[in-house]
């Protein structure tokens, strides 16, 4: 089932000779359980694409559909609700509230969805537990490593059963092994039925995805397509 359908979307800023096209006729369909990575140099349109996917910005041409609904057809309140219920955002900066514990940070997202505080805390504990983070639930962000903070951010982003995760350079500040563990966690969320769109410069992290798209100057320049079997890789190198 297609969850996110970006259909020939374009985004231009300014007008006349100052017009800058950040995104030009880009289409992307992401199904439930699918992990798509978007790569490209700075200014290639990765973040613009993610902002359109998340309804934080509107396309100047084309459409963005979330679970079949055109985001342009929603009023501000409807959009805000659709986004909060369905989409989780993860950025390089974790933006955790310093005065709340890890569990409370996750619980807050559930409370904003209307869950009562006690149930929200229980839900947050269960979620952290399922992500292998139970041990750090009572710590404050300042007492967590960068990787732990990022994992709590992912927990917060998926809290309440959000079905689409949009991650913009979430591993930028992390070392190699910690970055991998964050990718492993995103993969795990896909297995649990989430869809993930990751914008990154890091090709090792992009390789965790089912598909990798390459953007250049706001246009789709290539795509790796569906996965081939691993047997194509090892021990079968054919001679020229």
């Amino acid at each position: 089932m297609v969850l996110l359908d970006i259909d020939r979307a374009g985004r231009a800023f300014g007008s006349g000779h100052l017009r800058v096209v950040a995104l030009d006729d880009v289409s992307l369909r992401v199904s439930v359980g699918e992990f798509v990575a978007v790569m490209g140099p700075s200014g290639s349109g990765k973040s613009t694409l993610l902002r359109l996917a998340g309804g934080l910005d509107r396309p100047t041409s084309g459409r963005v559909l979330l679970a079949g609904r055109d985001l342009a057809g929603l009023d501000e309140a409807g959009l805000a609700q659709a986004l909060r219920r369905q989409i989780g955002f993860i950025f390089q900066e974790t933006n955790l509230l310093a005065s709340l514990t890890a569990t409370e940070n996750v619980a807050l997202a559930l409370e904003l969805d209307g869950v009562r505080p006690k149930a929200a805390m229980a839900g947050a504990r269960g979620l952290l537990d399922s992500l292998g983070l139970a041990a750090i639930g009572s710590r404050f962000p300042g007492q967590l490593s960068g990787g732990e903070q990022q994992r709590v951010t992912i927990a917060r982003a998926v809290a309440g059963g959000r079905s689409l995760l949009l991650a913009d350079e979430p591993t930028g500040a992390l070392d190699a092994i910690t970055g991998e563990s964050v990718m492993g966690l995103l993969r795990q969320r896909c297995a649990a039925g989430c869809a993930v769109v990751l914008a990154t410069h890091n090709v090792r992290h992009a390789a965790w995805a089912d598909r990798v798209m390459f953007l250049t100057d706001g246009r789709l320049a290539g795509e790796t397509g569906p996965p081939a079997g691993p047997e194509c890789l090892l021990g079968t190198g054919q001679a020229r």
Partner: protein, 196 residues
Amino acid sequence: MSVRHSLLAVLSAGPMHGYGLKTEFEAATGDVWPLNVGQVYTTLGRLERDELVTAEADADGQKVYQITEAGRDELARWFETPVPRQMIPRQEVAIKLVFAMRSGVADVAAVVQRQRVATVRALQDVTRLKAAAESSGDLAWLMMLDALVFQAEAEARWLDMCEARLARENTAAGTARRQPEIPAGQAAERSSQWSS
């Protein structure tokens, strides 16, 4: 590495003697991959047999080689096909890019992009193996997979760099066309900014 295709790329610019081909190849690749002259003639013999080049004696009785239409098609196919990762690819890819640039018969940015898609696809495959291996606890196997991951990453990042250089070159060419007269002082300032 593909001496065969590299020689075709050199010949795409015009007919040449065997020894000239050796010299051109080595100059194009900065003498990083020296060829022995026997290898050049063996390869030319095979190219001639496969009708990808023709050979005619010049006034001194020296063979002059010329690329055929079939040779041009073969060369185009080489540029259009990414190098599979298992073929010790870094040098093969580097050689392909060098000749794509120098021969002028290929869309270099497209060669870079096709190769990157192939390289990242291979990287996805190893990453899948790695994700499966993480739970096995076989550390040696994991490290082996890490080696493949980092080699492919190096190639992908190098291809990113190639793309950035091509883009900068295009931008610079576009700017030069729009602003034909840059005062000498400013031009020097601009070039030193890049070279420093």
